[in-house]
Symmetry: C2
Subunit: 96 residues, 2 copies
């Protein structure tokens, strides 16, 4: 069964366009990775400055390789400079 990740960030006010530009590159490069089933960016229905990447990976190993990828290590710190509070990242195993 798939490994899912929900990675939620609250952006600093006025930083959304800059964050989306970084995330567009992340999405484009990550979807090409081995074992990536889904990788999409979302905004909260309640607060457009809250965004969430919802991810599905074929295995824990595929997720681990993603976290070690060049684009992850290069782009995620750029997003980190735009957030208003610490990211909330949760990893889930699909049951059924």
């Amino acid at each position: 069964m798939a490994v899912k990740v929900v990675a939620r960030e609250r952006l600093q006010s006025g930083k959304k366009d800059a964050a989306l530009e970084i995330f567009r590159e992340m999405v484009e490069l990550t979807r090409k990775e081995k074992g990536c089933i889904a990788y999409s960016l979302h905004e909260s229905a309640e607060d457009p400055d809250v965004i969430a990447m919802i991810e599905a990976w074929e295995s824990q190993e595929a997720l681990k390789a993603h976290l070690e990828s060049e684009h992850f290590k290069r782009l995620i710190p750029q997003v980190g400079a735009l957030v208003a509070e610490p990211s909330r990242i949760e990893v889930f195993k699909e049951l059924f």
Copy 2:
């Protein structure tokens, strides 16, 4: 673009089997609903008593109809009796 829901619950200790039985029926009935793209149950990689339904709907209207369905109104209160803390339900709009 899809509407996503991440609904997270921390179960009371020892109640997981009972909760999974209820969620199996929820999953079976919900996947038959109009506008349901995905509806899967997960457990946290860090704590198996933390579970999360990750959902994808074609529209806000499809999600609204789900929340008004017979099985939602009948089964979710049964899950509510097994949780250790209030549910955390977040609704997201897919951007890209």
